[in-house]
């Protein structure tokens, strides 16, 4: 339990302009304003707002425990700040620097306030230091969380983007796969392809793996699973786009793609699909 002394809080309140000036100067020195991503006015406004929150919360709140309700507003402010910093493309250093650069001006202020009382000075220094450290950690955590959110969203979008099922002909579906095949993607691909087979009543599905960079045993297993599921539904599956390197890898690994019809490119696969459907392509005239 370490609540700041009333004298400290009063000192912060009374010297707010000096503190803010010192803080913003420190921030500037740390390079927060070096490019024009964020303006000096914005930084000053945020600093002022946060200082007010800090004063009101530390009057009652335990400086060592940020999880209680006294600090809810400060926490929320920092989370919003971290998120906006993450969106603006600041790195974790600059985000955390917002809090840590308040240390110097605060310490100076404390030194002046408790010049005659070294014991009280060291106590308050410790309390303030601990408080700012915890707040800094919280900022970093929020920063990281918002970055992870961005990554997760991008991953989901990528997953959606990379599995289009296209109709090549009546009764012929094609799925051009792009990127590495892992279990999760295979699952999504399999589901969307099977669903489309049911919807369109297509007899033949072509999986084109031209965009799959490498085929290892795991990928081959995933492909086999998809082909088996398609066969169980009553449709046929052709795999196309086997590049020379991939063919070599498959043979060197000793993978058994027996039972799967493979073609070198999508055109050959379509030709086979048309032939199986009893269609033929002829030159007009």
């Amino acid at each position: 339990m370490s609540i700041l002394k009333p004298a400290t809080i009063d000192a912060i309140k009374n010297n707010e302009p000096t503190l803010l000036a010192g803080w913003v100067a420190n921030l500037e020195q740390g390079g927060a304003l070096s490019d024009n991503r964020i303006s000096r006015d914005d930084v000053s406004r945020q600093a002022k707002e946060f200082l007010a929150l800090l004063v009101s919360a530390s009057a009652t709140g335990d400086a060592a425990d940020l999880s209680n309700t006294d600090w809810a507003e400060s926490r929320q402010f920092l989370e919003t700040l971290s998120r906006s910093r993450a969106m603006q493309g600041f790195d974790s250093y600059h985000t955390a620097h917002f809090i840590f650069s308040l240390k110097r001006p605060l310490f100076d202020l404390l030194q002046k306030t408790y010049a005659s009382d070294p014991a009280a000075l060291s106590g308050e220094l410790w309390a303030i230091s601990e408080l700012l450290d915890t707040l800094g950690m919280h900022t970093i955590r929020a920063f990281q969380k918002s970055r992870e959110e961005v990554i997760r969203r991008q991953q989901e979008e990528l997953l959606e983007l990379s599995t289009p099922v296209v109709k090549l002909w009546d009764g012929v579906l094609a799925l051009p796969m792009i990127g590495t095949l892992d279990s999760q993607r295979t699952q999504v691909v399999m589901e969307s392809l099977l669903q489309r087979i049911v919807e369109t009543g297509s007899d033949i599905a072509i999986i084109d793996i031209t965009g799959v960079p490498t085929v290892d045993t795991l990928v081959a297993q995933h492909l086999l699973k998809t082909v088996t599921a398609i066969r169980l539904m009553g449709a046929d599956c052709i795999i196309s786009g086997i590049r020379p390197q991939i063919a070599q890898t498959i043979v060197h690994l000793g993978l058994d793609l027996g039972g799967i019809v493979t073609k070198a490119n999508l055109a050959d696969a379509l030709a086979l699909a048309l032939k199986r459907s009893g269609l033929s392509v002829t030159k007009a005239g």
């Binding site: 589901e191 049911v198 009543g201 699973k225 599921a229 169980l232 539904m233 009553g234």
Partner: protein, 120 residues
């Protein structure tokens, strides 16, 4: 007790599974179907599982076995209308049903059966 009806259509038998399959039902179907094939000397069996949306490994195996026993009794078997979720489940369970012929719907299944019987 519940029974899955087995309908006769010319030289073919038509089985449509409209209820949730449980183990006893699958066993009864197996008995009924083999009796019916020998009774009618059917040339083909079409099993429609389009209404089946839950399978376990036992039911999956039974589908394979039913199709296997029909073949031994000289009746071609086609399983039609498997739902995507069922297909994925069977694959994940490692049941590839490699000896079973499949088709997308009843119409295509019938066409496949006719072709098979004609070529015999």
């Amino acid at each position: 007790m519940d029974r899955i009806p087995i309908l006769r259509m010319g030289s073919f038998l038509l089985v449509t599974i409209q209820v949730d399959m449980h183990d006893q039902l699958a066993m009864t179907l197996q008995d009924d179907l083999s009796a019916k094939i020998s009774e009618t000397s059917a040339k083909g069996v079409l099993i429609d599982i389009s209404a089946l949306d839950v399978v376990d490994s036992f039911i999956g195996r039974m589908i394979g076995m039913i199709s296997g026993l029909s073949r031994i009794m000289d009746a071609e078997t086609v399983v039609v209308g498997m739902q995507p979720a069922v297909a994925i489940t069977l694959v994940e369970l490692g049941l590839t049903l490699s000896g079973v012929s499949t088709a997308l719907d009843v119409e295509r299944g019938m066409k496949l059966l006719r072709e098979r019987v004609q070529t015999q």
